[in-house]
């Protein structure tokens, strides 16, 4: 008797294929390169700046971009490029630390709530809902109001404000994994909770979490810029992109470069995170993935159907 079994190709999740898919999208590649550059700046800014960030040089104030000052000078003669580079470093620092905080706290809360369920879940999610009732910037301002302005407060404020979204994403992902048959089977085997969380739940929720991290990093940069713009974030004389834009308000018609370059730096960094996050989502979200694979890869087994199900891989009746 001939043995003919169709291969379940509908769920190709090997990492090699994922990376290849990622690399196949030019936008994702470009944004990854930009992110790498931003990372380099974030680490090395203090060593690569051509001028001191607080080197006042009033005779050379408000000079347009030139060979010497690529981004021009501000109203005190300070080199805009140097200040932008250090500003990017500061923004990245705030963004990374605050999002790291939000990820650790939020994911822990979300996974525990989603896994345990019951009254713990209800109580925790009500608290998260309450936090969601406050618009992001407003809540951050409230935290700043309590603790006073400064970089530490900014990090804490953004971290606290972004925790709920990670809690929600982690909880939703945990809930959907928890009802999967392979998790249920483990329960019937008597597998302990620790094994389940570490081996079954966590590895299977990384997809949406990675995407959310990329997006949150983008928004954290924007939030920090807004807080600094208002004078409540990174305090002078530490340069911050937001404050530079604030300072440029009086000089915008005279010296457009004072407003444009810091803003452009923000846009480039945020855009890179957003585009990369989109690219990641295309790869990590199984539904999106089948569509893209079908469109792009020759020889895809899926046959380009938009809808899952139907004839693929031995699967018919759903439950």
């Amino acid at each position: 008797m001939t043995t003919r079994e169709t291969t379940g190709a509908a769920e190709e999740q090997s990492r090699i294929a994922a990376v290849r898919l990622l690399a196949g999208n030019p936008v994702t590649v470009v944004s990854a390169v930009v992110l790498a550059m931003v990372a380099v700046v974030a680490v090395t800014a203090q060593w690569i700046v051509p001028f001191g960030i607080n080197d006042v040089d009033v005779p050379n104030a408000l000079r347009p971009p030139s060979g010497e000052h690529w981004f021009g000078t501000d109203e005190l003669g300070r080199d805009v490029l140097s200040r932008v580079l250090v500003g990017v470093q500061a923004s990245m620092r705030v963004a990374v630390v605050s999002v790291a905080f939000a990820v650790v706290v939020g994911v822990t809360i979300g996974v525990v709530a989603g896994y345990r369920g019951g009254w713990l879940d209800t109580v925790v999610m009500r608290i998260v809902d309450v936090m969601f009732a406050f618009p992001v910037l407003l809540l951050a301002l409230a935290v700043v109001a309590i603790l006073g302005p400064g970089i530490t407060t900014t990090i804490l404020a953004i971290g606290i404000v972004y925790t709920p979204i990670f809690a929600r994403v982690a909880r939703a992902a945990t809930l959907s994994v928890r009802v999967e048959p392979f998790v249920q089977v483990s329960r019937t085997m008597g597998t302990g909770h620790l094994y389940m969380l570490v081996r079954h739940i966590l590895p299977n929720i990384t997809g949406p979490l990675i995407v959310q991290t990329s997006l949150s990093l983008a928004f954290a940069i924007l939030s920090e810029a807004a807080l600094s713009f208002l004078g409540l974030g990174i305090q002078p004389p530490q340069p911050s992109l937001g404050r530079m834009i604030f300072d440029s308000q009086g000089f915008v018609t005279l010296a457009w470069w004072m407003a444009v370059f810091p803003g452009a730096a923000i846009v480039v960094a945020v855009l890179a995170f957003n585009l990369f996050g989109d690219g990641l989502r295309d790869v990590l979200d199984p539904k999106q993935r089948t569509m893209i694979e079908a469109r792009r890869r020759a020889g895809a087994d899926i046959g380009g159907r938009r809808r899952a199900g139907a004839d693929i891989g031995g699967r018919r009746r759903s439950g």
Partner: protein, 331 residues
């Protein structure tokens, strides 16, 4: 659904699934509102140090300190303060400003119209752009026009709103002198002036919101377009226009409604920065000044009001669901 044995209006109300749905959502909102009240109340009490002393700052005198402290009720036990706070909040009394002694409620209500008009203009601009763009790009998925919309909206999402505001002022006000640089005119006093003054801040709020909403709307329409019933509609040989309007877009209306509600609520919080840039006399700028001056009652009041508005908007969206979705209207 089987109704209970008793007759009469109340029983009919209870057995109406739409009414029950709204009641559940109302109850939920009240619970969250309670949580909000607790958080807002805690704001003052979490301050390291003495909030009254910090607020008085250089104006500190022992008499002023005592006066302000008792006027704000901060000398009473905390539990009493909490219930006092809730009680007064429910009757509309939100305390007095630490800075100038004005009743907070009055100040909030004075500043509310400016913010509300900005938010509404913003969301209208956003919808006018995002609805056609999102739907159109979803229907042309994978093609060049879709790519253009996607890239543009990505760009729009990445721009800091205050930066956009400043640039708009620089171009349209300071350079071209077409529009004023800042300020507000009430609608009913001076419609022409109102329009002139609201265009730039409205665009600032609206364009960023448009970028965000375009992405969500596009993804909602894509999801509907991939469903079985849209395939059925095509299999009936209906014209593309009918398939799009009667099936795809109409079913996307529910998620689009959700998105609009969320965005409107987000705008309410996000206007803070725009109001500062445009010297707009709204709630946002009020909060900003209050934070700078540590005027806690005002901060509390404004946060409470905005959160309450947020919940109200969500509740209205839920009620619209009950109206629009037959799965909720009928069991």
């Amino acid at each position: 659904m089987t109704s209970s044995a008793n007759h009469g209006g109340a029983a009919r109300f209870v057995s109406n699934p739409a009414a029950r749905f709204v009641a559940r959502r109302l109850l939920y909102s009240i619970v969250v509102m309670l949580g909000v009240l607790i958080v807002v109340f805690m704001l003052v009490h979490l301050v390291p140090g003495d909030p009254v002393r910090i607020a008085l700052g250089t104006r500190y005198t022992p008499q002023a300190y005592d006066a302000l402290r008792s006027a704000s009720g901060l000398d009473r036990p905390i539990v009493e303060q909490f219930f006092g706070y809730i009680g007064s909040a429910l009757t509309g009394n939100l305390g007095v400003s630490f800075r100038n002694g004005d009743p907070v409620t009055v100040t909030l209500l004075e500043r509310l119209p400016a913010t509300v008009s900005l938010a509404i203009v913003g969301i209208i601009i956003a919808l006018l752009i995002a609805l056609p763009a999102g739907i159109w790009s979803a229907l042309r998925e994978g093609r060049v026009s879709d790519a253009i919309v996607r890239v543009t909206s990505q760009f729009g999402v990445s721009i800091p709103d205050f930066w956009m505001g400043i640039l708009l002022i620089a171009v349209f006000a300071s350079t071209l002198h077409w529009l004023p640089t800042s300020g507000y005119r009430p609608l009913f006093d001076d419609p022409g002036g109102w329009l002139q003054h609201i265009i730039l801040p409205g665009l600032t709020v609206g364009l960023v919101a448009a970028a965000i909403m375009t992405r969500y709307i596009r993804s909602a329409v894509l999801e509907v377009a991939a469903t079985g019933y849209v395939r059925t509609a095509r299999s009936k040989g209906l014209s593309p226009r009918v398939v799009t309007m009667r099936h795809t877009v109409r079913n996307a209306a529910i998620p689009i409604l959700t998105i609009t509600g969320i965005q409107l609520a987000t705008i309410l919080g996000g206007v803070i920065v725009v109001e500062v840039v445009f010297a707009w006399p709204g709630l946002g700028r009020l909060v900003y000044n209050a934070v700078a001056a540590r005027d806690y009652p005002v901060i509390q009041g404004a946060v409470l009001l905005i959160a309450a508005l947020f919940l109200l908007i969500n509740l209205i969206v839920d009620m619209l669901y009950a109206l629009v979705d037959p799965r909720i209207r009928l069991s």
